[in-house]
Symmetry: C2
Subunit: 140 residues, 2 copies
Amino acid sequence: MHYETLKSLLKKEGYSLTKPRKLVFDLLLNQEPQSMQVLTQRAIGKIDRATVYRTVELFERLGIVRRLNVGWKYKIELSDIFTGHHHHMYCTNCGRMFDLPDSPMLETMIDSVVAKTEFSPRGHQLEIYGLCASCQRLAI
Amino acid sequence: MHYETLKSLLKKEGYSLTKPRKLVFDLLLNQEPQSMQVLTQRAIGKIDRATVYRTVELFERLGIVRRLNVGWKYKIELSDIFTGHHHHMYCTNCGRMFDLPDSPMLETMIDSVVAKTEFSPRGHQLEIYGLCASCQRLAI
DNA sequence: AATAAAATTGCAAATTTGTCGCAATTTAAG
DNA sequence: CTTAAATTGCGACAAATTTGCAATTTTATT
């Protein structure tokens, strides 16, 4: 069912759903946000590094994935269309990412602060960083 | 007066305030967040590229600067200690960054959403992206 | 102020990350 | 099934970032 959505998003803009594109999509489906390093790593032997980059770039342009800014690098996850709008908590110790509970009120508040300005927002990202439950127990 | 704060933050952890470190600090003082490219560029003839990277990493570790995630890259700005806590709006057209108006209520709300989880937050970053006032007028 | 030890830096090389052109392959259209 | 267009793999390239190590600077001590 997600493949249908994917396919139609591509078709709509004149692109086709090829094997490499399906693979990149699969690498992202039901996963926590992935770094390019991991993506290219996992694609080895299947598709070329350049193709991974090109695909991610295309997917981002079409709104299929979004690029999350995390620490020094960025990670890729499927966009709101597939996952729903949400934010992340990033554990600076183990590097894992966790979803922040949804809060419509928070979203509203963000919008209203931006509305005070002359800026025309297209979206936003909130990242919480700190220690996840298990890393806290390890007492760094 | 900012130099005193800087010096004591370094001293506290056993580091000294050297000329290169002072330079990097100066490159950040009263500026909008800077990319590494610009930082290394501006340091040419004064200090080595590698030193800029090492200094930024040290500064981040000591909480002197923070790394802002912007688009695909990141930018560096002095931390809350020097600038006060605030968030940014990033213009995807011209690349400039603007401060979001302060909103204690927003901060409280973010904290309270995180408090519902087992995550132990050390901080957070909110980035709004879209078009700034002048780029809107140019109607991209 | 002189000196020795420790910390820091510059330099050059290595690695990693991301991009590009083009020929070979795959996909879409008829 | 054939052809045109789109896409991919491959290699080369360019940019960004890291690293080892010798030279320099800083700090602590006399």
